[in-house]
């Protein structure tokens, strides 16, 4: 009975979102205050209904209700409680329900934190979000309801894919979805502004904090996924240019362009059309990402068993979203004013270059990701595009961006001059050259690639130091200023991590018998042997490795090979000794003859800087979004609007 209540709540939510999507939009266009006033209650109702339905599904998992097919397929009584709950989004149906829950959650947040916005604007934003929710709810109900019954019920469920029984899974999908779905808010603001014909600085200011917060979630979600792949999958890599990874990375690139372009629109009133296009693109790419992941059309190391019917539904949804928003854009864009003029050298131009580079990079990733699909659709054979393609294209496009990151915040709006910029940045340039020449020698062999990357990272970091010193002379910087600098610092740290680990990493697959040693990057592993350990729902072969450096013992590492009771699939648990300047990593392969094992050992210099950099970027984004001026100025502009309204009346 309880699962049916959840199913019923979803159906009700579908009807409510139809109301939320249609009436407030019509009301705002036709000036019908009663219809406009429906937006908030409808949003709250949709959120509560979907939340209820999500809690019902969670309850079904918690209480091991195997008469629900989705629960029977993804959980069993042996599963620890934490994973029984995270199993709710361990499969297709549940993760889509999570998607929808977050979508309604974002809409509810907009409804709550937009008291100072004009009611018509709020109604339009919530209306657009309502329409998107309607589409996705229809998708859930028609193709992938998690509440389908399995009658008669089975005694025991099939269990969660062992790969997903990890703390990483508890957080990775929700964070990533928060980011994906958060793009819908930026999208809704853009569409609402187009509908109202009010593309102005106020619109940019409203949508900025939302976009930044969504971007933070996306950044954290991608970083966590990358870290999870690194330690859980036993591959030791942090990025594989896999279609599913690209699916999350493309919206990130466009969202990064969007938060920079929104800055120009807010401060200078320029780039309005471009900003709207980016908002549409970011959300469309989020939907495309969902399509790529959920349809299984691409061969991916991440692919799960999937159903092509679902892919077609998302594709249709994507076509409707892209088609209708571009039509609206085409109708409204010619009327939009150009905004503030700017000289060829100005902060506007630098941010424009930032945008062009990020969008071109996204285009290159998109092409590489979809190329196999295109060729297959044309009947020209099946092929795959390898990681070297992405590295060869992506890295050169990003290099100029890294050069400009240091100059952008220094250049003045409207009209900048090359002289003052160079005068202020020459110490950073000097530091960069010295770092490029010297630092790689400390790490080992000198390579041009790593020298360039370290020089660029030092260039960015030194420029930030210079700006901070200067800024303190003129008073206390704002939170958003700090946010920008910290995020850029994160980028520098990320570059260091990528360059160091890709140049100096060492990887060896070896055959080891107890007592044998292997050395990578100055660290020696001594294999002590393997013995069986019993876990809550698995038996593990646990290896012991004594880690020493220069003869000094550091610690003992225990990588595992787990065999879960309910699954034929073995699982590798790597053991990692993490450090600020290096990780050492050991994982067990297969048992060989006698007591020997195939063993994989890695030395990964500075690899944690990659995720540390992402954390810094997220922290910067949070600071920027928390800036007081978003709250104060909104008040002022509301007062100004009210005054203007009073004047006209």
């Amino acid at each position: 009975m309880i699962p049916e209540l959840g199913h019923f709540a979803l159906m009700l939510a579908l009807l409510v979102t139809l109301v939320q999507g249609v009436l407030p939009l019509l009301g705002a266009q036709r000036n019908q205050p009663q219809w406009v006033a429906l937006a908030r209650p409808a949003t709250a109702a949709a959120f509560l209904l979907v939340l209820f339905s999500f809690l019902v599904l969670t309850w079904s998992f918690y209480s091991n209700d195997f008469s629900v097919e989705y629960v029977a397929q993804h959980s069993n009584t042996q599963l620890p409680t934490l994973y029984r709950i995270s199993a709710v989004w361990g499969g297709h149906e549940g993760s889509l329900l999570l998607w929808v829950l977050m979508l309604t959650g974002w809409a509810q947040a907009v409804a709550l934190f937009s008291r100072r916005l004009p009611e018509a604007m709020v109604a339009r934003v919530l209306g657009v979000l309502g329409l998107v929710t309607f589409g996705l709810l229809a998708f859930v109900l028609l193709t992938s309801s998690p509440f389908e019954r399995l009658l008669p019920a089975v005694e025991e469920g099939r269990s969660l894919n062992p790969l997903l029984q990890d703390p990483g899974l508890v957080f990775h999908p929700p964070l990533l979805y928060m980011g994906y779905v958060g793009m819908s808010v930026a999208f809704a603001f853009a569409i609402a502004a187009l509908l109202a014909g009010q593309l102005d600085a106020a619109w940019a200011r409203w949508s900025r904090p939302w976009t930044t917060v969504a971007w933070v979630f996306l950044t954290l979600g991608i970083a966590l996924g990358s870290w999870w792949a690194y330690y859980e999958l036993g591959w030791g890599g942090w990025w594989f240019w896999d279609p599913v990874e690209n699916a999350s990375f493309m919206p990130w690139l466009v969202a990064t362009a969007l938060i920079h372009s929104l800055a120009v629109t807010e401060k200078r009133g320029s780039f309005k059309n471009w900003t709207v296009l980016l908002a549409i693109a970011a959300f469309s790419l989020s939907l495309l990402g969902t399509f790529l992941v959920r349809s299984g059309v691409l061969t991916s190391v991440h692919a799960f068993a999937t159903d092509p019917r679902r892919g077609i539904f998302i594709l249709i949804l994507l076509a409707i979203v892209v088609g209708s928003s571009l039509l609206l854009f085409a109708a409204r864009a010619p009327k939009v004013s150009l905004g503030g003029r700017f000289a060829l050298l100005s902060r506007e131009t630098l941010l424009l270059v930032n945008n062009v580079l990020l969008v071109v990079a996204c285009g290159a990733v998109l092409l590489g990701t979809l190329y196999p699909l295109l060729i297959d659709a044309l009947g020209m054979g099946k092929l795959s595009v390898g990681p070297p393609y992405f590295n060869a294209v992506f890295v050169p496009i990003m290099l100029p961006l890294l050069v400009l990151v240091a100059a952008g915040p220094i250049a003045r709006w409207k009209h900048a001059e090359i002289g003052p910029i160079l005068r202020r940045l020459w110490p950073a340039a000097l530091a960069a050259v010295l770092a490029g020449a010297g630092l790689p020698l400390l790490a080992g062999e000198w390579h041009a690639y790593v020298a360039l990357a370290l020089a660029l990272a030092v260039w960015i970091a030194a420029a930030i130091v210079l700006q901070t010193v200067e800024r303190f002379k003129t008073g206390k910087p704002t939170a958003s200023w700090w946010g920008m600098q910290i995020a850029h610092c994160g980028l520098a740290a990320f570059v260091v991590g990528v360059a160091m680990v890709s140049t100096y990493e060492e990887e060896r697959d070896v055959r080891m018998s107890p007592g044998e040693t292997v050395t990578v990057g100055g660290h020696t592993f001594k294999f002590l042997g393997v013995h069986d350990v019993r876990g809550p729902n698995y038996v593990a072969a646990r290896g012991s490795f004594e880690l020493t450096k220069d003869g000094k013992p550091l610690r003992t590492l225990y990588p595992e090979k787990r065999n879960y009771d309910t699954s034929a699939m073995p699982m590798t648990e790597a053991a990692i000794d993490a450090g600020l300047t290096r990780d050492v990593y050991v994982s067990l392969g297969e048992p060989l003859e006698g007591e020997a094992w195939a063993v994989r050992v890695y030395f990964k210099p500075f690899v944690d800087w990659i995720w540390g950099g992402c954390l810094l970027m997220s922290l910067g984004g949070l600071l920027a979004a928390a800036d007081r001026r978003y709250r104060i100025r909104v008040k002022q502009s509301a007062a100004a609007t009210a005054a203007a309204a009073g004047a006209t009346a």
Binding site: N161, T299, A364, L367, L383, Y389, A392, I397, D509, E590
Partner: protein, 146 residues
Amino acid sequence: MKPRHKRIALIGGGLAALGIAAALVLNALNSNIAFFVTPTEIAEGKAPQGKTFRVGGMVKEGSLRRDNLTVHFVITDTAKEVPVAYTGILPDLFMEGKGAVAQGRIGADGVFAASEVLAKHDENYMPPEAQHAVDQAQKTGQTLKQ
């Protein structure tokens, strides 16, 4: 600078960036794609010589043989077979009788030297390429019987 010149400079800069990006893309794409070939196509001599490609199908039961870190196995699409050698640690889900996709080159001895064997997330998942190879082989098998 006049606005018109400015616009020309901006557009020119944009086009130049796009041109460079396009050149990068085409160049990189050309050298980094791996075609997918079925065991039947290899038997028919349709495999690209001296180039990296992918082969997929089922891992033949009883064909798995370990020689220290080097693993030998046979990939079959149920009609034809191709022997594969791979050095290193196989992904967890690699099993006899299950689907697999390997990337590498074919040697003069007819053994496919794999540089990578694709991992999967899910034991019920069949790589689409492996499925495709088996479907193709069975389709042609049926037409031959008729």
